[in-house]
């Protein structure tokens, strides 16, 4: 088990290196000159050269790539914004709490709404609850999330005036963005929970549990839900990934100052380090989440645990055994 965890953690390093490489290649082929964006189209060639040298853009791409990685390892720096001249790391950390708060609150809403509804629908297949749950989740899955956000603004901020339409000056401002992302994720989680529960209730061990006279509630919660949880956990992990991606649009819709909005602003100003840093940080967070999901998965699913155990003996033990064989001749 420990070996599995360590291997997964070490695997993060090449993945992140790969992400850096991809992002670097993408920014390298991005059209548009960041220098023109900074000093304007009409600046003299001299000022251009100066700015270019100051930003390090006169060096070849390979050099910049190497320097970027070395800086991350030695200084923990992911570059300096061309525009504001502030370290991207600091800027991102200023906005990170908002993005992660948005994603985690939405995930909490999604789990609290999605899992119970999905499980209930799965247990009572073809009932009114089931049909209502299927249709509602399909509808929410079928909306663009920014549009759902706009519709919520229209209904609850513009027409009813219960909550502010933009910004997060008070906790009221969080309600709509969290509801937007949360409801969509809840719809996905409910679908997965339902189908996973449907799979489980057909298994023999459920019949066995019923046959031995167990109460239906215990059968469903203890024997059913626990086994149905495995795909649900995986899905929750991938939902958090799409929540981070969705946060980009939702932050724009609700004018929340988060990483997504920061990156999009950087994108339109050709501020490469901002873009690179944002993608890198989000990819890092996403990878950590996937890592945690994998580990949780391994703990829940006995088959994975067995895979890493049944190779049986550890290296030290094998050595000892071989030595004893050798002694015996």
């Amino acid at each position: 088990m420990i070996r599995f965890v360590i291997r997964r953690i070490l695997w993060l390093i090449p993945v992140l290196l790969g992400v850096i490489t991809i992002v670097f290649i993408l920014t390298a082929i991005t059209p548009g000159d960041p220098v023109s964006m900074l000093v304007g189209e009409n600046a003299s060639e001299e000022t251009r050269q100066e700015v270019r040298a100051e930003l390090g853009l006169d060096k070849p791409l390979v050099y910049r790539y190497g320097k970027y990685i070395v800086d991350i390892v030695t200084k923990g720096s992911i570059g300096v914004s061309y525009k504001t001249k502030k370290p991207v790391w600091d800027e991102i950390m200023l906005r990170f709490p908002n993005t992660i708060k948005l994603a985690l609150l939405s995930l909490a809403v999604a789990i609290l709404v999605g899992v119970p509804l999905g499980v209930l629908a799965g247990v009572k297949q073809y009932s009114v609850i089931d049909n209502a749950c299927i249709i509602a989740s399909l509808i929410f899955c079928s909306m663009p999330e920014f549009w759902l956000g706009l519709m919520l603004i229209l209904a609850f901020a513009v027409n009813l005036g219960w909550v502010p339409a933009f910004g997060i000056r008070s906790w009221l401002g969080w309600i709509l963005p969290v509801a937007t992302l949360g409801l969509r994720a809840a719809a996905n989680i409910a679908r997965i929970s339902r189908s996973s529960m449907l799979d489980v209730v057909r298994q023999d061990y459920i019949r066995t549990a019923r046959a031995k006279g167990q109460k239906e509630s215990v059968v469903m919660l203890k024997h059913g839900l626990r086994n149905a949880l495995i795909p649900i956990i995986t899905n929750v992990g991938s939902q958090l990934g799409s929540l981070l991606g969705g946060a980009v649009t939702i932050e724009t819709v609700f004018s929340i100052s988060g990483i997504g909005k920061y990156m999009l602003d950087g994108l339109s100003g050709r501020d490469y380090p901002v873009m690179q840093g944002g993608v890198l940080i989000l990819a890092f967070v996403f990878s950590i989440i996937n890592l945690l999901v994998d580990i949780a998965y391994a703990f829940v699913d006995p088959r994975i645990k067995a895979k890493y155990k049944s190779h049986g003996i550890s290296k030290a033990e094998r050595k000892k055994l071989l030595a004893s064989f050798a002694k015996e001749g």
Partner: protein, 302 residues
Amino acid sequence: MSKIVTPAIERQMKINKRRPVGYIASPFKEAWRRLARNKTAVAGLIVIAIFIIVAIIAPWITKYDPTAQDYSCTLQPPSAEHIFGTDNYGRDIFSRIVYGARVSLPIGLLCAICSLVTGGVIGIVAAYFGGLFEDIIMRLCDIIQAIPPMLLAIAVLAALGNGIDKMIIANTIALIPLYARISRAAIYTVKENDYIEAGRAIGAGNLRLMFKHMLPNALGPIIVTTTFGVAGCILVVSSLSYLGLGITAPTPEWGSMLSNAREFLTSAPYYIIIPGVMIMITVFAINLFGDGLRDALDPRLK
């Protein structure tokens, strides 16, 4: 010799009433029959068909040019003259919706097909040859999937610039790993079957084994994923063009219409409601169809 009729055969005979005894439908005909019995899936299919027909006959059912501006009637609510109202340039929203279907639907479909073909081939080849090649491909997929797809699409679009073709490329790159994984997993379920061994024994080449013997038998989950993929792509494309990436004005595309309508949220709510509802209906119908398809192709649910 008297024929022994087991309950299973009896059931089969009932199904094939007008067909010769012993007839067993091919898996795809069988799946199609189950799909046709599924009312919601058929409803989804009908809605999709309606949208496609509307997109094709667009010039004959619209009164106005979708890009023609008319400043004498801007932001008019729905009326008999303009059934979906007009936008801030006085363009007829109904025309723009109908012509928008010519943009939004093919983009969604093309994104899904391009990523299916590239990702699918990569996945199949990886699963077939295995070994180091497969490891490298799968690790590359890991790396690409470490970036949330939406972000990757944004980054690629930023690098390539705007345009419908670039939009398709960006979405394809973001989705290739997903399709590679799914088709690899699907091939794994059929790879060890006897008929593959038999094919190899009679001297079938690698390509023939991969695409003639393995692929058709592993097609079920791949088709289902692609159906949902079209729905997902339509949503992602609309989000991207809402952010002003990929498709630019004055192309009538549902996502960019929403982006334009954003300013008039309070003064012209119908302008922002209508394109969104269109996206929702389309994606809803595709999802319904996909659900039916999955049930029809999944042998466990027979």
